[in-house]
Amino acid sequence: MAIIEASGLAQRFGDRTIFRDVSFRVEEGQVFVLLGGSGCGKSTLMRQLVGLLPPTEGEIAIAGARITGPDAAPALAAARRRFGVMFQSGALFGSLDLAGNVMLPLEMFTDLPRAERAARARAKLAEVGLADAADRLPAEISGGMAKRAAIARALALDPPLLFLDEPSAGLDPITAAELDRLILSLRDRRGTSFVVVTHELASILAIGDACLMLDRNAWPDAGGVIAAGPPRVLKAESRHPVVRAFFDRAPLAAEAA
């Protein structure tokens, strides 16, 4: 079954069309990777998928329920109980320490006693390698740590679907590999589905069950999809010059945009 179905998505800002005709399915238990150069609209697409930005055109369904269009607010609210999001910037709550950040969703949506919440938050932080930074404030940690803390927060309620916007950008290779292992272990142990934006070629090949490659110049007048399929297949078979350039060259340094 598809956990996400997107059809005909387009996004315009003013008279600029960032992308159009973007359609794809994410199957349950899949790691779905979004690829594409900086500024091609990956974060914008993710904002559409999590219901922060109503698409100019097209429809999105999560677990079979349409979350776009009129009267979709209750479906969107229900869908939000099922997914966690890590923003490209981390978006940690600056007034709370890392443990507080992870505990907030637990406090809001579970009846766990305080001690239990704290224990869970510590466990989630340990999963991303931040066990000893629980009482630090977001302003006191590095960008890579902030991303990992944001992942821990997204994991707090054990959602069946996770959106991660460039989780490994700015991480050292060892931590990035650990993160890949965490993603695969969640997929295999719990059947968690993922939508991951990443530029790390090694990571894409290691974790990606399917991928969608966007490009700014997919259409004469707009960006869009230039390739879709399992990353290994694209790497072996795609003839699209941009796709070839991506897979044949060493991965570019992760673009921050």
């Binding site: 939000r80 923003f87 809001m108 949506f109």
Partner: protein, 262 residues
């Protein structure tokens, strides 16, 4: 409207007005849904904001109150003395403090210290996508961030006003004692001039000013735009908006109290 263009300034004013209405709508919705979203309204946040907005403003409020009492007493003593009426300085200072200056100045201090802080805090949260993070968790920023701040200032502003009133009366008393009046005489004069209803009316106004200044600060923060100057602009808008709204409301209260014969 074919063939007719709306001026950009008019359009901007219209956008501001509708934005304000939308915000009021969101506030009302959040209040109505508060029983359902009870968890998102954290009393610990109310306490923290009350401490920031109230307790930490006390030195400034006391200083300003005492100075205003002193200055008013001195200034009004000059014309009053010509009629040999300087005991009535106590009447003038106490009534104007309790009814007008206490609530008004407290609200102005609140707008400068707290309204701007609210705008900067929420504006920074917006720029850092923290508000988006709340939204995707299914949390309501108005219930979680705005209502506790409004509740805190609603509670704290009357207390600040009371402190301002007290400090002002003390300042006035110092001057009057300097003029040779005894403390009991001054006290009796104040009690005769100002009534409890003057005090209560002032405190009620202060509560309204406090909530409105907080709401304007939070709205400025939530509406923060993009770019490096956006948070600063939001803080400025919060202070200006807070002070203007306070004065407009004060005018409305003046008419209301006049009608009620208060």
């Amino acid at each position: 409207m074919p063939g007719r263009r709306i001026s950009p300034r008019l359009a901007a004013a219209f956008a501001t007005a509708t934005g304000g209405l939308v915000f009021i709508g969101a506030l009302v919705t959040a209040l109505v849904r508060l029983p359902v979203n009870r968890r998102q309204f954290r009393l610990s946040d109310v306490a923290r904001e009350a401490e920031q907005a109230g307790f930490r403003a006390l030195p400034l409020v006391l200083l300003l109150g005492a100075l205003i009492g002193l200055i008013l007493a001195f200034q009004s003593a000059i014309p009053m003395r010509r009629f040999g009426a300087d005991i009535f300085v106590a009447n003038l200072v106490s009534v104007s403090l309790l009814r007008e200056l206490g609530p008004l100045l407290s609200a102005v201090i609140l707008a400068g210290r707290t309204g701007s802080a609210f705008a900067a805090e929420l504006g920074t949260m917006k720029v850092n996508q923290e508000l988006d993070a709340l939204a995707v968790m299914g949390l309501d920023p108005v219930t979680l961030l705005v209502l506790p701040r409004m509740a805190a200032t609603l509670l704290v502003t009357p207390v600040l006003t009371l402190m301002m009133d007290a400090a002002g009366l003390i300042g006035m008393t110092l001057v009057m004692v300097g003029f040779g009046y005894s403390e009991p005489a001054i006290q009796a004069q104040v009690q005769q001039a100002a009534s409890v209803s003057d005090l209560i009316g002032g405190l009620a106004k202060a509560a309204v000013f406090g909530a409105v200044v907080a709401a304007i600060g939070c709205r400025a923060g939530l509406g923060t735009g993009n770019g490096p100057r956006a948070v600063g602009l939001a803080a400025t808008a919060a202070v200006v908006g807070g002070i203007v709204a306070t004065i407009l409301l004060d005018g409305a209260f003046a008419m209301l109290f006049y009608r009620l014969g208060w």
